[in-house]
Symmetry: C2
Subunit: 215 residues, 2 copies
Amino acid sequence: MPAEAKTAAKAAQPPVRAAQPVNPPLTERQEARRRRILHASAQLASRGGFDAVQMREVAESSQVALGTLYRYFPSKVHLLVATMQDQLAHMHGTLRKKPPSGDTAAERVSETLMRAFRALQREPHLADAMVRALTFADRSVSPEVDQVSRQTTVIILDAMGLDDPTPAQLSAVRVIEHTWHSALITWLSGRASIAQVKIDIETVCRLIDLTSPQD
Amino acid sequence: MPAEAKTAAKAAQPPVRAAQPVNPPLTERQEARRRRILHASAQLASRGGFDAVQMREVAESSQVALGTLYRYFPSKVHLLVATMQDQLAHMHGTLRKKPPSGDTAAERVSETLMRAFRALQREPHLADAMVRALTFADRSVSPEVDQVSRQTTVIILDAMGLDDPTPAQLSAVRVIEHTWHSALITWLSGRASIAQVKIDIETVCRLIDLTSPQD
DNA sequence: CGGTAATCTAGAACAAGTTTCAGACTTGAT
DNA sequence: ATCAAGTCTGAAACTTGTTCTAGATTACCG
């Protein structure tokens, strides 16, 4: 009964924090450990994708005991989702510096997503590990996955140039995110070409014009 | 190196067939075994979702040795994707009997998908197992996943009432499928409500009007 | 500084997916 | 009916994610 075990109550275990806002403030050494772990995770993922991220190897690479790794990230999926948060933050920073240049919101969003897509293409294995973890995550990872989703939403709204989206616009953004994730999956598993992903993104971005024809 | 091992060449092993068209014709007893396995799989999945489908249990429930189970379905994901093909075929049959009644293609598609969604809601654990397997599937399962995708496409085109879709319409259908899968995932992992899934489906279905305004 | 609670380490142990193997059983062709 | 080839079985072994434990280390409080 591993499913039950997972939800079983535990004693104190601080290092598992929800997101950017540190839950329990980490000491410097702890912060360093956390960084080492995330770095090792990304490195192994870059090599061979989801399967190559083996918890024992991550622990060894980051010079941390296996038990400690599990204290910081309660499962492999948690670890990879955290890795994704990390990468997303990077990307958001990069994107901010060079905002998309399109005339319409739809163009800017699809330009932004295609830029992100090209970044992922440079590290396809890493992309594989992160995206598979994201879609495989069960309820126990919901808060973290949700955080990734919110982050993505912010990036898209940024590209649209919106501060105060209407509900209809938020629906469109959600649908764009769905398409983005799922299209990535089909590409990663070799069932769709890069060109097809591009078309799908451009197609779904037209929904934006549908919800804000005044732009 | 399990990744390599998985792709290693094997000797003869017929029962693994691609889809409906039997690759090597199965004997009656083999067909029966296959049915028993799929039935056990669906049954266990209905109880506890992805995690509850344990290969040893499936083997025991279906009165087949573990090795045989693996000869029929080379991995747990293959098994669950095959289970999904099975259920999809059912559903397609059911849908055919009561075609959607909406006036526009968009309405009919979203009506169809919502009907499928309600069916999934009746067996949320089974849905969980199938959808998680589908999105977690790696390249080794691509043919089977693709078959599921094609089947889904047929269902949607059916609902649209189209025989000969344009490329633009096919893109729209792909985007709808992306949204469908991803929205299901967010619902299954408790990050979106049923109402939200409904809205997302209706939103994406508007893309149809965009690609065939003459309908 | 001393003590105590929390944290970390090494390593064993466990769970479930997957592989392997020897021997029994089926099938299909002669 | 018989033989060869292919299948199925039961059981053990192997892999990797996850949990557990006992003892060392560290952080913090007075």
